[in-house]
């Protein structure tokens, strides 16, 4: 861990004012990921700007019937908020699939969007990693890559995004509200995270001096037919090998709308509009879901140890969509895959 300056932002404008001129500065809220990375000398911020006291902890209804979630709402508060539990249970479920109760109590919504990959080479400063040190090379491509990306990879990085919450937000079509030196802007959650390309050091499209202030959920909440299924190496407290956020709109057994997002397979939550479009008007059957999974996984490619994830993802998509169809969402409390 390095020495750093510490500033407490008095308001959003103050946070931006402190952040913008200092490329080494980092915002800190719950710190559940940043502090870990600082302990490992992966993050060496020149300054920590504490935003944890900013008034960004509200969950309010938007005029169009959606919800606006302050960036500092703790993950637990979000998952157990009555409006989320009732109207966006997919999001609640995904959050509860992640981390542990203690971490969820500390972690903020904005921080969850900003969490960095769990690639072991990224964490180990004694090994090359393009994400940590651009140009040093990717150790995972020819190394230990059992839990690395199968979609959207590049020759410089095959890391995955570890968030569960983001996968549900991607499926729900969430928006991210951002404030910066040039005012506020809004981008789709699916455009918030980047693919690695040749700039794997950049996880997101957040500009310099910008700060997440809220996440907005659109009115369409898929509260009936949804499921979040996370497949991992133990039943809890592990990062996903593959996770699936699925949401359906059904008329009888016919699909009128479908959302499917994958976690643990790419540098960002993975959606395919083509796959979702292919489901519209179809009957909710395993065959159709399998076809959609194939479309979703189009272009998937494996490295030496992660080939199993392609078939696993395909099967998990079908299972999750069946859970959604039957309105029997995966429980995050039972010690069992439904």
């Amino acid at each position: 861990m390095n020495n750093f300056r510490y500033s407490r932002a008095s308001d959003i404008a103050d946070a931006i004012r402190l952040l913008a001129p200092d490329p080494g500065a980092k915002l800190i809220a719950g710190g559940t990921n940043l502090i870990d990375l600082m302990k490992e000398n992966v993050e060496r911020p020149s300054r920590l700007i504490d935003i944890s006291r900013l008034p960004l902890r509200e969950i309010v209804e938007t005029p169009d019937g959606g919800l606006r979630i302050g960036a500092l709402v703790p993950n637990s508060d979000l998952a157990y908020h009555p409006l989320i539990e009732q109207r966006y249970p997919l999001l609640a479920s995904a959050i509860l699939a992640g981390a542990s109760a203690q971490l969820r109590n500390m972690a903020s919504v904005g921080g969850n969007l900003m969490q960095r990959t769990r690639c072991p080479y990224f964490y180990d400063t004694a090994t090359p990693c393009n994400k940590r040190s651009l140009g040093s090379g990717c150790s995972a491509i020819d190394g230990l890559n059992r839990n690395h990306a199968i979609l959207g990879t590049s020759n410089s990085c095959i890391a995955t995004n570890p968030s569960d919450m983001s996968v549900a937000l991607a499926a729900l079509g969430a928006l991210v509200h951002i404030a910066g030196p040039n005012g506020e802007r809004t981008i789709a959650l699916t455009d918030f995270h980047r693919l690695p390309d040749d700039k794997p050091h950049l996880d997101t499209n957040l500009g310099s001096g910008e700060i997440i202030i809220a996440v907005e959920l659109p009115p369409h909440s898929f509260a009936r037919n949804y499921s979040y299924l996370k497949i991992r190496d133990r039943m809890s407290y592990a990062f996903a090998l593959v996770s699936v956020a699925a949401a359906l709109e059904l008329e009888g057994n016919a699909i009128s709308g479908a959302r499917v997002a994958l976690g643990g397979v790419a540098h960002k939550p993975w959606r395919s509009l083509e796959a979702e479009a292919a489901l519209r008007g179809q009957a909710a059957t395993p065959d159709h879901f399998g076809h959609a999974a194939d479309l979703l996984l189009q272009g998937a490619s494996a490295r030496s140890h992660n080939g199993f994830k392609i078939e696993l993802a395909r099967r998990a998509v079908v299972r999750t969509l069946m859970q959604a169809t039957n309105a029997t969402p995966q429980s995050q409390a039972h010690k069992k895959i439904a």
Partner: protein, 733 residues
């Protein structure tokens, strides 16, 4: 003598532990205490070409950076570095010279007024290496394995019998490297007492082992160093040998003449010992009637280049399964890694896992029920020495375990049982461990108020030693357990070896018995000497201590209170110290046994495995405490679930570095992975092994569990996974 022994007595130290009153090595403090932070090597082999500490030393609050170049004197002979459980070889010496022997090796200690300052300054130490060629991959280097002494003599002609066998099963089973990950981090607080004298609070399984080691390494007299470890937050074998942080904290204390604390990080603990990755090759040859004609077991295990760490992986078949022909071999591959260490049931956890998977495969090939095969091959003698057992109720373990599990309802065909989307599998395996006894001395001080203090240098590593010592003492002295206080883990107390190998329960209990017997005799003498003593004329052997009195056995009316007898003898206190005595007896084999039954449910499409039920039926002589004993076995079962499904230290052999050195990525079972665990203690009276009939429970709980689960996975899926852990990717496709 009865009362507390054999009952579910709650831990006498339980309250101290849950309230935080129990202090651990890293929690002791001292005046002007300073903190050390370890800088580790990031290459597996080579030498330090340059080590620049100048930037670190500039940091305000940094007192010193100790390296091989500026450290105080350390012993230069291997003998001084050999602790009581060191393997053959030349032990690792931290900060000794510029040689790098393994990744994660400590190469500098930054000492500062504050821990955070030391940690920061550690990032400023610049090291240039001359890297040498290295090898860390056991499978790639398997051909370079060298044979150790034969653990067991061969019998008959195993190769010939195998070749001629009606049915043969032969396979490699791979046990990966595993790390202990005790909850408590390795820590030492070395208190500078002035004048070169040191009090060392260390996380260890053996304070006297550490004390002797430190005296050797730092050329100190025994009276100069006192080592204490009153509580240990889990160790599982990793604390048997003195770990490097105790050397570093003590080195710094001597260099600075100040008290120093060194706490390792979780990541740094992956540079300590571990269960060595081992290729277990088992071959079984059977006659068509299902009896064994040949057993061979070869283990090929990792060790460091500087020490030959080897345990008894092979040869357990000699104890379990009758076969006229057998041979065993243990090979080591020397790699650029730190030396492995004992980890719960060392050797057996790995070796019996392979043997019991192989027996399951043989049962399938013979179309026999796995229990039936084991009963057909049941050995009433330890074949290696051709000895009977002091007791062996393994048949009862099979019977009671099978009954509790419902084994009779098992359809033997793989993939024949299911529950919704899940395939159900039932598997079983045998467990075996040694029942060892070691020299331990105990001192009991009985005071006239009817209170006794029992003290011994033995550690309680969380297993319940405080409690069983109190139970045995309370019963032997006829006092309520509240009147017994127990002091452990101080090197100035009566002698004890490291706490390990499941030997401490029997060893410490019998030392308590010995000292209590001396007290009984002295009290009896005083009681009988009293005027008009109700015990006059009673044979001394018929006098017992019960309910605070000295009484005639079977005639409790004839009694004198302990207080009165001591008052009469003008005694404030009676102090007796005794070394336990076990008769030298090589006429019997001494072992504990278990039969483990596991139910798994495997999601047919997704490969997700759940261990939904485990029944462990254990025969381990007399159980001193059924509550802590049950916890021991449950803990072993949970660890066995981890060994079967989760645990694996993953190394990138291009860098020779462990890549999951943290407990987020190094998986052990969490609550969600643990379902029903049923522990059965089978009655096993053993009048031969020792007075109390105690055998010890530390290791037996894990042995057999991984194999029972692997066999259940086969039964569920029809897939035989021989590379552990069994992760879901191995079941897909």
């Amino acid at each position: 003598m009865n009362g507390y022994v054999g009952t579910p007595t709650s831990r006498v130290d339980g309250r101290a532990k849950v309230t935080g009153a129990a202090k651990y090595a890293g929690e002791f403090t001292a005046d002007r205490l300073v903190h050390g932070f370890v800088v580790e090597a990031t290459i597996p082999r080579g030498r330090i070409a340059q080590l620049d500490t100048s930037e670190a030393l500039k940091v305000a609050g940094v007192l010193d950076v100790l390296t091989h170049a500026n450290r105080p004197s350390l012993a230069d002979k291997d003998d001084a570095w050999k602790d009581e459980v060191a393997p053959e070889g030349s032990p690792f010496r931290p900060l000794y010279d510029d040689t790098i022997k393994f990744n994660g090796q400590p190469i500098a200690l930054v000492v500062a007024e504050e821990w955070a300052t030391a940690k920061f300054a550690a990032t400023l130490v610049r090291i240039d290496y001359e890297q040498a060629e290295f090898a860390t991959d056991l499978e790639a280097e398997r051909g370079g394995a060298s044979e150790m002494d034969k653990p067991h003599k061969p019998r008959g002609d195993a190769a010939g019998a195998l070749a001629a066998a009606a049915l043969r099963h032969e396979a490699d089973y791979l046990i990966p490297t595993e790390h202990h990950n005790p909850m408590e981090l390795y820590a030492t607080t070395t208190v500078w007492e002035g004048d070169g004298k040191l009090t060392v609070y260390d996380k260890t399984q053996g304070v006297q082992n550490v004390q002797k080691f430190l005296c050797g390494v730092f050329d100190k007299k025994p009276e100069d160093i006192r080592v204490l470890s009153p509580y240990v937050g889990g160790a599982f074998g990793s604390g048997l040998r003195p770990q490097y942080q105790v050397v570093l904290a003590t080195l710094a204390a001597l260099a600075l003449k100040r008290s120093v604390r060194v706490v390792l990080t979780r990541q740094q603990m992956y540079g300590l010992g571990y269960r060595p990755m081992t290729i277990e090759r088992v071959a079984l040859g059977a006659k068509s009637d299902g009896t064994l004609d040949a057993v061979t077991h070869e283990a090929i295990a990792v060790t460091s280049r500087y020490e030959d760490f080897a345990r008894n992986d092979t040869g357990w078949a000699e104890q379990l399964y009758s076969s006229p022909n057998s041979s065993f071999s243990h090979k080591l591959v020397h790699l650029d890694v730190s030396t492995p260490s004992d980890m719960r049931a060392p050797g057996a956890a790995s070796g019996v896992c392979a043997l019991e998977c192989a027996m399951d495969e043989l049962a399938v090939a013979l179309n026999l029920d796995p229990i039936e095969l084991r009963l057909k091959c049941y050995s009433d003698r330890d074949q290696s020495e051709n000895l009977p057992y002091t007791s062996k109720q393994l048949r009862q373990c099979y019977a009671r375990g099978a009954e509790a599990f419902g084994w009779g309802r098992r359809d033997p065909a793989p993939r024949s049982m299911r529950d919704g989307k899940e395939l159900v599998g039932w598997g079983m395996a045998t467990g075996v461990w040694e029942a060892l006894q070691m020299p331990v001395a105990v001192r009991i001080v009985l005071t006239s108020n009817g209170h006794a203090e029992v003290s011994c240098a033995a550690s309680d590593i969380g297993t319940g030693t405080y409690t069983i010592v109190a139970q045995v003492a309370a019963d032997a002295l006829g006092l309520p357990i509240e009147n017994i206080s127990v002091r452990l883990a101080d090197s100035t107390l009566p002698q004890a070896p490291v706490e390990g190998g499941s030997w401490m329960a029997a060893s410490s209990a019998h030392a308590v018995l010995g000292a209590a017997e001396d007290i009984r005799q002295e009290l009896a003498r005083h009681a009988q000497a009293m005027p008009s003593s109700p015990l006059a004329g009673v044979d001394a052997q018929d006098i017992i201590l019960a309910e605070g009195t000295i009484a005639k056995a079977g005639e409790r009316g004839r009694a004198i209170s302990i207080a009165d007898a001591m008052r009469y003898g003008k005694l404030e206190r009676i102090e007796k110290q005794k070394l336990n005595e076990f008769p030298e007896d090589k006429s019997h084999a001494r072992n504990t046994h278990s039969a483990v039954f596991a139910e798994v449910k495997v999601d047919e499409e997704l490969g997700v495995i759940r261990v939904t039920r485990v029944v462990s039926a254990v025969a381990a002589g007399r159980i001193l405490n059924t509550k802590t004993g049950r916890s021991q076995i449950m803990g072993g079962v949970v660890w066995g679930i981890g060994m079967a499904l989760h645990e694996e230290t993953v190394m990138d052999h291009r860098f020779g570095r462990i890549m999951n050195a943290n407990i987020a990525e190094y998986h052990i079972p969490v609550n969600a992975d643990v379902h029903d665990i049923d522990v059965i203690f089978v009655d096993e009276p053993d009048t031969h092994i020792n007075k109390l009939g105690v055998k010890g429970l530390g290791e037996i709980g894990i042995v057999g569990v991984p194999a029972a689960i692997a066999n259940a996975v086969y039964h569920a899926t029809g897939k035989r996974i021989r590379r552990f852990p069994i992760t879901l990717d191995k079941l897909l496709g």
